[in-house]
């Protein structure tokens, strides 16, 4: 029989002592706000459980966030592919778009994962959640979205919202918000679901490696990364799209494109007058870029639509309205984010 490699074995293999491991667990537990007796249980569980259980629930979603997960990774520069993540580091025990089992068997898999990993699993959510008299406008297996979230969040150690909808309400919550959709953080604040440690990875969809890199940070460090005021990882949301835009030199020189294909646009001039929201949008589009570093929205020629910010759908003037406020980034030099590196398997 194959030896079962545990997280602790894996850490010992990397030269981490038993004592360090316990310390690591304590840090993990405290960063997740797990207290008292639970810390001991968590420590023991990490030592026997090999891969953290992940339950991914989709609510009022377009599945673009799951698709973005599938776009993640550049084998030349990182180990952030979805296949590496789900075959080697986490046990993706429920995911409606990728799961083999359906119906009762899928539901049983979710319930088993919750029971076996109660208090320890990671819940990932995408999509908004309708509330109030809209609650039953989104249902799965005879349960409302809100009911399903409430039930599943109970035993979660950490909730990761992937995408602007789960983070802040997003598209379904755009005016007039016909279904009274809310993000998970707001549901917690309103007392509609239990509060748990929370990480927001916003974007419509998020940059692929921002999803997997944030998960990798948790796996490697056993703790949440440093967060901004909207609970987004500073590593990826510390700078505005404008801060590191390849068109920035033209902005600074006062050179702007006035239409999509004028002489200015062809020379890469700044897209501010075409409605670019880069100056008040925090995201990694221009530092990490998209699709194995191929390009980014502003690089290719359309202004940033501001998709990682709350309420961006209701930006005054719409997609082509001009930004009048410039946010300040963290002041560090522009560089490709240093993704947490998963060990070689």
């Amino acid at each position: 029989m194959n030896k079962q490699i545990t997280v602790s074995d894996s850490l010992y293999d990397q030269g981490i002592s038993r004592r360090s491991f316990l310390k690591f667990c304590a840090i993990t537990a405290s960063s997740l706000a797990i207290t008292g007796v639970a810390v001991k249980a968590f420590t023991q569980a990490l030592a026997v459980a090999r891969h953290p259980s992940v339950i991914w629930l989709s609510f009022q979603a377009c599945t673009g966030c799951s698709e973005s997960l599938m776009r993640s990774g550049n084998p030349l520069t990182d180990r952030l592919t979805v296949e590496n993540l789900i075959l080697n580091f986490v046990s993706l025990d429920f995911h409606g778009t990728l799961q083999v089992a359906a119906g009762a068997q899928a539901e049983a898999a979710r319930r088993a994962a919750m029971e076996e990993n109660f208090g320890k699993y990671v819940l990932i959510a995408d999509g908004g959640i309708p509330t109030g008299d809209g609650e039953w406008l989104s249902a799965e297996n005879g349960q409302s979205a809100l009911g399903l979230l409430r039930e599943t969040i109970e035993g979660a150690a950490l909730v990761i919202n992937v995408g602007t909808c789960a983070s802040f309400g997003g598209l379904p919550a755009a005016a007039p918000n016909p279904t009274k959709a809310m993000g998970v953080g707001d549901l917690m604040a309103a007392g509609l679901v239990p509060s748990r440690a929370l990480l927001n990875i916003s974007g419509c969809p998020p940059v692929p490696e921002v999803i997997t890199g944030s998960i990798a940070y948790f796996l490697v460090n056993g703790a949440l990364p440093p967060l901004d005021s909207l609970r987004r990882p500073m590593l990826y949301f510390g700078k505005t799209v404008h801060d590191c835009c390849p068109r920035l030199p033209h902005f600074e020189a006062g050179r702007f494109a006035a239409s999509f294909d004028d002489d200015g646009a062809r020379q890469g001039h700044c897209l501010l007058l075409l409605g670019c929201k880069g100056p008040d949008t925090f995201n990694a589009c221009t530092t990490n870029k998209w699709n194995q570093g191929t390009s980014s929205p502003t690089q290719a020629g359309h202004g940033c639509i501001g998709c990682s910010e709350p309420n961006f759908w209701d930006h005054s003037g719409g997609v082509y309205g001009i930004v009048d406020e410039f946010e300040l980034g963290d002041g560090t030099a522009c560089a490709t984010p240093a993704h947490p590196q998963l060990p070689v398997v």
Partner: protein, 585 residues
């Protein structure tokens, strides 16, 4: 009689529930398909800038991430009589074609294949035998015993770990899995390869649209430019650059096209054929209606009416009659209509009327349960999906409809692909009207479009080489240039089938926006006359070998490639903004 409920249907986009009534032998006698999630995107669109609609409607679906954006900009351009440059047409065709090829491959491997491929069996396969199988299937380069042994060991190790993750609680002990171990291993290896492949292929969208998912679009053309800089005489000439599209970007697109064509020809097509050869009985079940509809795609010239020169033609086929392809007029109020007799909506003229999308209305009227439930009352309203009809007929849309339309209208390449496949399988043409026929047609659809990508790319580069760098027409981008009111229709052949957006502009704002979407056609509930949609009809007659493991249902439903977020949309006309929620008895 008993009712089998499958909810969630997994490995699809979105929220789909199937309730199937079976008789004593386990045969399905009646099936009801329910979309269980609604967002209200068209209500949200009302009063907004029509130039923004592509971004909102794009988020109807993040799987087919190009199709709604493209349909939306076409609807606005149709309303305004707004022509786009030839380069923009080529770039849109390249983005759309890339979307279709990637989506079909991803659907075949990541979403559908596990209905047929047994990964437990794969983990016990002989790597040398698998290598031999691969070598006689095609000249794909990943074919050594060492390669397949590495994949097998990875899989065996994963299974032995006891943490099965995505594969947990699946049906691999079901008697309906019939592939030999070597074929299971080969297809599982391709499941992994397809993940890597799709990431690379979609860089086409990043070059032209900045990212995937959800690349950028614009009315009047495409938002990307060819990168240029002034020469010694001050004239702008193509140049390498940090923005826009340059030669490096075009070379990357060429590489992606080459990779797509190779993977489709050497991996996907042979795999689809091999699957069919082992599951021939599935060429004899799963037909929906014999009615097929296409709106058409890939404009081939720059006429004002882009529907006049389509690579995939527009048309309707009724009752398998390929010799009579009927014309389709998207503006004719008597052709495309939507019904809500069994959907959670009200119509001002009554629930049994049908409305053309220009007159379309949607008033949410949820009458389903408001506490945890076991069953829906399928004699009442039971879905957020409406029931669209063409001249009163329920229609199947998608790759099978497209391939049949191309076959019927004399596309020689399409005919060759279909005839050769059926000859290899020793099957009659009627085998196309089935679950496995749909799967085969999907692979042919991908093959035809993948090869056409090269044609469009050559047209683009020839145009640029001739000195035409235009990618966007600014003439009508400013709403001040628009008429006071205008109506437009945008269309598309999305991976899952015919897609249309109907738009009314009033005073520079969206007054009315209605989408009729592929999965709305295919996943439709019954209409007022009690006629079911394609899913519902196709499932009747299926026998569940193991009643609590509904593998047979999954096979047929997955052959349609459902996209539920697309299917459920709503528009609220003018006055009816009230959300009515009625508690069921």
């Amino acid at each position: 009689m008993s009712t089998v409920v499958i909810d969630p249907i997994t490995r699809i986009e979105g929220h789909l529930r199937i309730e199937a009534e079976t008789d004593g032998s386990g045969m399905i006698t009646k099936a009801s398909a329910s979309g269980t999630m609604v967002r209200g995107i068209e209500i949200i669109l009302k009063g907004r800038d029509p130039r923004d609609a592509w971004a909102f409607t794009q988020r109807i679906c993040g799987v087919c991430t190009v199709v709604h954006a493209l349909t939306s900009v076409r609807a606005v351009e149709n309303a305004l009589g707004y022509a786009i440059p030839a380069n923009a047409r080529h770039i849109r065709n390249l983005m759309m074609g890339t979307q279709l090829v990637q989506d079909h491959v991803t659907h075949f491997y990541q979403l559908a294949s596990m209905d047929w491929v047994n990964v437990v069996s794969a983990s016990q396969a002989d790597a040398t035998a698998t290598s031999n199988l691969q070598k006689c299937t095609s000249d794909w380069h990943n074919n050594s015993p060492a390669y397949f042994e590495a994949v097998r060991q990875k899989l065996a190790g994963f299974i032995a770990s006891g943490q099965l993750g995505l594969f947990g609680n699946a049906y691999f002990d079901h008697p309906a899995y019939k592939l030999p171990p070597e074929m299971n291993l080969m297809l599982f290896a391709h499941w992994l390869e397809a993940l890597e492949w799709q990431r690379k292929a979609l860089r086409v969208h990043a070059v032209f649209g900045g990212r995937n998912p959800h690349p950028n679009f614009a009315i009047g053309g495409v938002p990307c430019t060819f990168n240029m800089s002034p020469n010694a005489a001050g004239v702008l000439v193509p140049a390498l650059g940090t923005t826009g599209v340059d030669q490096t970007g075009l070379d990357l697109v060429q590489n992606c096209i080459t990779d797509m064509r190779e993977f489709v020809a050497k991996v996907y097509r042979p795999d689809a054929l091999a699957l069919g050869s082992h599951y021939k009985d599935w060429f004899g079940r799963g037909e929906s209606l014999g009615n097929f509809l296409t709106f058409g795609e890939y404009p081939q010239n720059d006429n004002a009416d882009i529907s006049s020169s389509l690579f995939v033609p527009r048309g309707a086929i009724i009752g398998r009659n390929l010799s009579n392809v009927q014309p389709v007029d998207l503006r004719n109020p008597d052709e495309v209509q939507e019904f809500v007799a069994h959907s959670w909506y009200d119509y001002s003229m009554g629930k049994n009327t049908g409305l053309h999308p220009f007159q379309g209305e949607t008033t949410l009227n949820y009458t389903g349960p408001q506490a945890n439930y076991q069953n829906l009352d399928v004699n009442q309203s039971y879905s957020w999906v409406k029931a669209p009809r063409w001249k009163g007929n329920a229609m199947e849309v998608g790759p099978l409809a497209r391939v049949l339309m191309m076959y019927a209208t004399g596309n020689r390449t399409a005919r060759d692909h279909v005839d050769r496949a059926l000859r290899d399988l020793e099957l009659p043409f009627s085998a196309m009207y089935s679950t496995m026929g749909r799967t085969l047609a999907q692979s042919i659809d991908a093959h035809l479009v993948a090869d056409e990508l090269q044609v469009w790319f050559n047209q683009l580069t020839a145009n640029v080489a001739g000195g035409d760098f235009h990618t966007h027409n600014a003439a009508k981008f400013d709403p001040a240039t628009w008429p006071a009111t205008a109506q437009g229709v945008g269309f598309n052949e999305a991976p899952r089938g015919a897609l249309g957006h109907w738009l009314t502009i009033n005073g520079g704002m969206i007054e009315n926006y209605q989408c009729v979407v592929p999965t709305t056609w295919n996943a439709a509930p019954r209409d007022a006359a009690g006629n079911g949609g394609p899913y519902e009809k196709a499932l009747v007659g299926h026998v569940l070998a193991v009643p609590d493991k509904p593998l047979e249902v999954l096979r047929t439903i997955h052959s349609f490639n459902p996209c539920m977020a697309c299917a459920v949309h709503l528009f609220d006309p003018l006055q009816n903004e009230t959300l009515n929620v009625t508690v069921s008895a």
